[in-house]
Amino acid sequence: MRAFVFTDKALAKHARQFVWLSIDTEKTQNAAFAAKYPIRAWPSFYVIDPNREAITLRWVGGATVAELGKLFDDGAGTAGAAKPGGALARADKLYSEGKYAESIAAYRDALRAMPKSAPSYPRAVEALLFSLSVSDQRAECVTVARGAMSTVRSTAAAAVVAGSGLDCALALPDGAAGKAADVAAFEKDAEAVLADPKLHLAADDRSALYGSLVDARRDANDDAGARRVALAWVADLDASALAAKTPEQWTALDPNRLNAFEAAGQIEKAIPMLEKSAQEFPEDYNPPARLALVLLKLKRYDEALAASDQALAKVYGPRKLRVLAVRADIYKGMGNEGAARKTVEEALSYAEALPAGQRSESQVAALRKQLGSLEAASSKP
């Protein structure tokens, strides 16, 4: 988003509609914001009414320039509204408050009340699919995605609907009625979305679809099919990297390319990519953090530890826990159980000291459990 979308001049006309606030949720100074406006997924976008200090519209995940323009116009209308108006406003309010399970019925009402050609229809479908997904209502998610696909097929929302439908179908229990047919249908939809040049999907969206398609082939125990999709994914991202206009755009593709390389069994190709990003952005902790993970997977432990050192020197906020987790695994790979245990102890202390808004109780509990297992293992004769 920051590298590709917010740089688009078409958005400049919206500058006066809002005061624009960018929050890096990893920074301690933003912990109070995160505590006040809990974040369920990254990135998240909020329209906030400054007088009530309340979210009036929430958008989760990336967006195209066109979708953002629509969101800005919708959002400018919601703020300051004393009472929510129609069914969609009621649903948006619940969704904005993070009441995803409660928003499901409201979005259903809203969708029933609006024509399928309404400009807000794709946004409401996407929000409903998100709420169903995070509420673990997979079968309902499949039904909604199936029903909406024909309506959104030629819009940017097609990627989300096909991808959500496929992910939800794959998450159904094995042997669930209709699972195989649903997976097959969404795979076909996802492939059609990827092949449609008119949709102008962002690399993130394309990658999400490729990832779901790889999962689908693996779920079918079709290793050759999974590899075929993964190689197409790598080629797609290689083309995006070639087309990048700025170093920011090139580096922004790193996480997707890393996933694609790994899926294709070519994870070593991530090494020169990450080394280039590290050179381009020496203050960014991500390239060395990712490099440490790649080298760990390749069992090149000494080099992995060196990359981890570099990442640790730069990382801040909750992300440091991820860097420490990889570091503990590097030590385990080296056979140094003592250093692994010390690293987990350090992670636990760090997690416990994070301020409200960044501290996660489930994270702390997981680290305590991990430490307990390591201590039990070390005390065995």
Binding site: V19, W20, L21, I39, P43, A208, S360
Partner: protein, 60 residues
Amino acid sequence: MRMTRLIPLVLAGAAAVASAAAPAPAAKSVLPWIEDDYPKALAEAKAKKVPIFAEAWAPW
């Protein structure tokens, strides 16, 4: 909204939109963002009588 690949973060009790986050340390936005200062944004929004548009992101 792109939420098709909600993945659990290792050691994080939260979800991320997979690969949607990008580092982009110096991307040049066409919008006048206030960086990491909610009180300042709040005061400006009240003064200008416009809402805040907030982006919560992480440099992953």
